[in-house]
Amino acid sequence: MFAYIVRRLLQSTVVLAVMSLAVFAGVYAIGNPVDILINPQAGQQEIARATAALGLDKPLAEQYFVFLRHAAAGDLGNSFAFNVPAIGLILERMPATLELATAAMLIAMILGIPLGLWAGLKPGSAAGKSIMAGSILGFSLPTFWVGLMLIMVFSVYFGWLPSAGRGPTANFLGMQLSFLSLEGWRHLILPAANLALFNLSLIVRLARAGTREAMRQDYVRFARAKGLTEIHVVGVHVLKNVLIPIVTVMGLEFGSVIAFAVVTESIFAWPGMGKLLLDSINLLDRPVIVAYLCIVVTLFVLINFAVDVICSWLDPRMRLVDSQA
């Protein structure tokens, strides 16, 4: 177990280094951020001075080594546009994104697993067919459009829910979170539903396929032969087996939802870190882009690790070992 964790950590350090170099070179290739950030009335000398002040006049390799030296000390640099440390900027926005992503995943799982089970148990019924048809819609409709439709229907037409922004926040476990108040939920529900839609459809399909397969297995027949109630058979024996692929896929999807909630965050003006990334790319704010991706890679590593642990608990046959070990 310990060797496994150490090896995992070493691997992720290599991934971080390679990723930061790629992003560094990529942003460098696009151009000089000062060209975009500078006051248009500025003359050539001011542009040169601003470029030098940010260290952007040095060769790429030198800039990268300066970055590495500071990064080793935990300093990922100051944002060009916000004039504050990039890492702090992202951590300040992270609770909003985590909250949104968690709410979306909860919606997806709480609705998706029962719906998928139902569709798997009664594949020929009208309900089962409609669930599957709905899941196709959930897959194929673009998030951007669905988000706007949600706003048009629930905010503009009915006026039930706010169209954009985040509700009042309160301190919870050291993070500024909004789900503790009713107003916070009113703001959270539309963007979370929008973000959940894709994963909801994914879970429905996974749960249905898993259920249909499990129902044909010997252990289900055996459990029935033992005289267990249908609820016990489905709720314990089938569900546990159905959950393994769902947990694996949802673990990966949770990372994606956090990292790429950007479309939903833009439409609903949700002040999360995805929106920050988009703004930073538009301004070529390299310290923020690099720091953001470092954090996201770290998150993915952590989530993958958690998925491995949960799966080994669900299925004791799995072991926490590397393939080569």
Binding site: G31, I36, Q41, E46, N83, A164
Partner: protein, 516 residues
């Protein structure tokens, strides 16, 4: 109970009035990055600064200079400006505004790390506090621009902002100004909250509380207004204008903006990139050096059609580099009439009877409908035989490439509060020491224009300076230094119960919204 109900209802409506009647919620189109008024000079940041702070000089809705914290100013001699300051102005913490604060603010613009406001103060070499309400500023050479430059220098409180960094402004600790609103809260990426300054010297604003919500997605901003969550929004997409005008619950305010859209065309290189004859061979000579070719291009563009069809009427065909209300606009210049026949003739006379081929570069996310305008101009150019391939890039990739001069024919938009300032950046011969021609992608060089500009910037009399600025504008535009297209309109939409005094500089000022 039945008798109680009307009372309860009345109480409820009173409560609604109290909650909404004096609160104004505005949807902003771009993100505010910092509260520090001396850090980044970008429109959303400056827009917020104008609520909490004042400058010594202000500009009105037509971008003309008016008194701010300075009541009057005059040139004592060729290199010294004297400012008489407004008496009895209080900062939000109750302390009095004096010349000390003005000097401190001017000095702070030069100390903020990576700050972008030092360009407005770097030519000031001497600061003298004559008395509490009189300030003298000295420049090394005669400089007419000092009062204009000071419009960009926000006055912070010396007491509150001494040693303050950008983080102290974000937190509100140093956000002490003299402006119409007090700072309440800045939630990055989400909102800025302000409260009324009851002692404001220029009249009490109508709103107890103002919330600027940051909603950059156009449809989401409009949805916020339609659902009643926002009271007013800025930057309405032209495609949504007809619909908003039809809606009986909404009102709009519109004004010609200071932003002018034009094309730079490379006149300085023998063989500009991408220019070929129709068979793909590089051209022997640079056609843009011939004024007849430049004029032909200008004549081939149907500006009225672009304004009517692409901009839904929300633009004005341009003949100048600044829009009509702005200082130095030459009203006698008229937009080039659409004349493809004459354009073809001019091209033939210049030795290009079959035209040529080139790349037309433009951003696709910066100016109103920029990508569609580029496509339309390319088609119009095709009618006179110039085959233009359109290259569209997002601004973050476009600008660095353009500044490396990778384009021979490139779109740019410019907002300037005087014609000579625009000319200085866009068409003056490149001269880094003076800051001339920093954005002169055309490589246009005309010693007469440069001379007029230098003369104008040293002329402290505003009337004379405007006459000189107009002469320079005429000279550059009659020479087709660049090809102007149109001046954008700035549009705001709001609830029917509100009115707004629209501004040429596109700023959205809460204190200029009024309940009707």
């Amino acid at each position: 109970m039945r008798r109680l109900l009307p009372v309860l209802l009345a109480a409820c409506s009173l409560w609604t009035l109290a909650a909404n009647g004096t609160e104004l919620r505005i949807g902003m189109a771009a993100d505010v990055t910092s509260m520090d008024p001396h850090f980044l000079n970008i429109a959303p940041n400056t827009n917020i600064s104008w609520h909490v702070f004042d400058a010594l000089t202000h500009v009105d809705e037509d971008a003309r200079l008016i008194p701010g914290l300075a009541l009057s100013w005059r040139a004592v001699n060729a290199t010294t400006w004297e400012f008489k300051l407004r008496r009895g102005v209080k900062f939000h913490d109750g302390s009095e505004f004096t010349a000390e604060d003005a000097v401190f603010s001017i000095e702070r613009t030069q100390k903020v790390p990576n700050g972008q406001f030092q360009i407005y103060t770097q030519r000031i070499v001497g600061k003298q506090i004559v008395d509490k309400y009189t300030l003298r500023l000295r420049t090394a050479t005669p400089d007419a621009m000092v009062p204009y430059d000071l419009d960009s220098v926000f006055i912070v409180s010396k007491k509150a902002a001494a040693n303050a960094g950008s983080a102290d402004f974000d937190s509100g600790k140093a956000m002490i100004g003299t402006g119409p609103f007090r700072f309440v809260r800045f939630a990055r990426g989400d909102r800025v909250e302000l409260a009324r300054n009851d002692d404001y010297w220029d009249g009490k604003p109508a709103w107890d509380k103002v919330v600027f919500r940051i909603v950059p997605t156009d449809p989401a901003r409009l949805a916020g207004l339609l659902s009643g969550e926002l009271d007013a929004i800025e930057q309405i997409p032209t495609a949504d204008l007809p619909r908003i005008r039809r809606d009986p619950r909404l009102a709009t305010a519109q004004k010609v903006s200071w932003r002018t859209i034009f094309f730079h065309l490379d006149q300085y290189r023998d063989r500009p990139p991408s220019l070929t004859d129709n068979s793909g061979r590089p051209l022997e000579r640079n056609p843009f050096r011939d004024i007849r070719v430049r004029q032909a291009i200008s004549k081939s563009i149907n500006r009225q059609a672009i304004v009517d069809r692409l901009m839904d009427g929300a633009a004005l065909p341009a003949s100048n580099l600044v829009s009509p209300p702005v200082f130095g606009h030459a009203p006698d210049l008229k937009p080039e009439p659409y004349d493809p026949e004459g354009a073809r003739k001019l091209l033939a006379e210049a030795g290009f009877p079959n035209g040529f081929a080139m790349t037309l570069a433009a951003p696709n996310n910066r100016y109103v409908n920029d990508d569609q305008i580029a496509q339309a101009v390319a088609q119009m150019l095709a009618h006179i035989g110039i085959r233009a391939r359109v290259e569209l890039l997002p601004m973050n990739a476009y600008l660095p490439k353009a500044r490396k001069r990778e384009f021979a024919f490139a779109m740019l938009g410019w907002g300037s509060f005087s014609g000579d300032l625009a000319l200085r950046s866009l068409v003056a011969t490149a001269n880094p020491a003076q800051g001339f021609g920093a954005w002169n992608w055309s490589g246009y060089a005309n010693a007469r224009v440069d001379e007029l500009l230098e003369h104008g910037f040293a002329t402290v009399d505003a009337k004379q300076r405007e006459a000189i600025a107009r002469d320079a504008m005429r000279m550059a535009m009659r020479d087709y230094a660049v090809i102007p297209l149109h001046h954008q309109f700035a549009t705001w939409a709001m609830k029917k119960s509100l009115s707004y005094k629209p501004r040429t500089d596109e700023f959205t000022f809460a204190h200029h919204f009024r309940p009707q």
